[in-house]
């Protein structure tokens, strides 16, 4: 039987990265995610798997180290929290523009500015709409449990390699800091140089036996060719939209109302729904697991059978816009949010549901 461990989400990320066979991690301390780097330094994977772990001089340097590692076909990642992820946006845009696979973890805290170190989901727009300059998307995974923190490390990097695009785990401070049971993924060896050459024939690894040189760049001065590059990116995003939408539904079969929430907030809402059901209120939950691509079709289909939806978010109303786009005006969609590091409890969620849908007794 697999060993069940108890650890923080941030610690689970570090363990999972080593076990996945990551080649490198580059980070910079910032609350509430510093345990990722701390755990990696404590585990010293360079002694076992050969994984490189480096505390960079800044988030900017860290993401550009990720860019360098990814350019040579390596499995590389970085982690940070909101203000640090803002600094990384330049590098993330370059990763997208150079079609490089990489994994970025954002353990969100409240903003804007230095904000607070307490949990938040206010980087939804930044993560799902691009974040940096130019037309691009990241694959954005939203974990709700420590187990998912561990599992999404592998899933995120696999998807990043599959589509040659950066992927992000967008976690809230809660799932980063809380401890839960987790079964860590099995160890697998890092890929050999031959495997990397086969999986990433585009990588700048030194010419080796190749006749031609590989160049990793996001630059193209010829507008027509740059437009073609953009078309290629968009075709990739279309493929991702087609294949990779992930979400979970709870109590939706007979639901008259739907709560839409992501990350840990979805669990708070689930508790609220369990309480509501005891009172005879038919409410269900849709939890997007991929925030991009967004479960637009699932929500559109639910919109045909329920009376209304409420999004619950740790922000002023961000995902609600995507829910409204999906629902396209057919039913009312409201938002309930807490900000600045405040976390609603299940009772508040139920109150918000009643306040927005007064017909609920």
């Amino acid at each position: 039987m697999e060993e069940v461990k108890l650890m923080k989400g941030n610690e689970a990320i570090a363990h999972a990265a080593i076990r996945y066979g990551f080649d490198g991690y580059f980070g910079y301390p910032i609350t509430p995610q510093s345990e990722v780097l701390e755990t990696l330094e404590e585990l010293m994977p360079w002694e076992t798997t050969g994984m490189v772990v480096l505390q960079a001089e800044s988030e900017v340097a860290a993401i550009n180290m990720v860019y360098g590692g990814a350019a040579s076909g390596k499995a590389v990642m970085t982690s940070s929290s909101s203000p640090g992820v803002s600094l990384k946006q330049e590098g993330i845009s370059y990763l997208a523009g150079a079609e490089l696979p990489a994994l970025i973890l954002n353990v969100m805290r409240g903003g804007p500015g230095l904000g607070t170190i307490q949990p938040s989901q206010a980087d939804y727009f930044q993560a799902t709409k691009g974040g940096g300059h130019g037309d691009y998307h990241l694959i954005v995974l939203s974990p709700a449990t420590v187990q998912e923190m561990a599992d999404f490390v592998g899933l995120g990097m696999d998807l990043a390699f599959k589509y040659r695009t950066p992927a992000m785990i967008l976690a809230d401070g809660i799932v980063g800091q809380m401890m839960e049971k987790v079964v860590l993924p099995p160890f697998r060896p890092r890929r050999t140089a031959e495997q990397i050459a086969e999986q990433c024939p585009w990588a700048a690894t030194g010419k080796g036996n190749r006749k031609h040189r590989n160049v990793i760049t996001s630059l193209e001065m010829d507008s027509a060719r740059m437009e073609e590059n953009n078309h290629r990116f968009q075709r990739t995003y279309e493929e991702i939209r087609k294949n990779e939408v992930r979400f979970k539904e709870y109590y939706t079969d007979d639901a008259e109302y739907i709560i839409v929430a992501f990350g840990t907030v979805a669990r708070i809402c689930l508790k609220a729904i369990e309480d509501a059901r005891k009172q005879g209120i038919k409410v269900g939950l849709l939890r997007p697991i991929t925030l991009w691509p967004f479960p637009t079709e699932a929500l559109a289909s639910l919109a045909g059978r329920v009376k209304g939806m409420l999004t619950v978010e740790l922000n002023a109303g961000q995902m609600v816009e995507d829910v409204r786009l999906a629902v396209n005006g057919r039913i009312p969609v409201y938002h309930f949010g807490r900000m600045g590091g405040m976390i609603p409890n299940p009772g508040e969620v139920l109150d918000a549901l009643r306040a927005n849908f007064p017909e609920i007794k």
Binding site: I174, M179, E180, K181, K271
Partner: protein
Amino acid sequence: MKEEIIIAGFGGQGVLSMGKILAYAGLMHDLEVTWMPAYGPEQRGGTANVTVILSDSSISSPIVDSYDTAVILNQQSLDKFERKVKPGGTLLYDPYGIHHAPTRTDINIVPVEAMLKSVELKNAKTYNMILLGALLAKRPIVPVEAVIKGLRKTLPERHHHLIPLNEQAIEAGMKLVE
């Protein structure tokens, strides 16, 4: 069975680690567990609290409205959490440094003289284990053996010689509330 517990006090009193040991004991006892700290920048002196949920079925929310049990170690936390204990629930608190004792009559209020006891044991670090003992005496959610197993699991080898002292502190805490 599901026990929703808040432990609250000052940073440095062992709030988070007491919660951690309880969580590990839950793990050893095959329960579902969440340990959710209200984390802060201060390591010492600031307020600290942690929500620990132990359950024999899966736990949806790590954040709850009210608690079955509260372990309160300072006045601010008492003011904040006394009203959040479920009716019929349990509130353990250390009267040391408390100016306004809890007043509710619909919950079980258990004073635990843990500070004085830890002075008696000549080791301030036993403080939170004394409280844990008192908690387990009143709410036997996990057996003491599971706590010891949890300690063995969480403490680095070099600290394993401290386990008997911790065991002693747990027993002392249990006796305090007999």
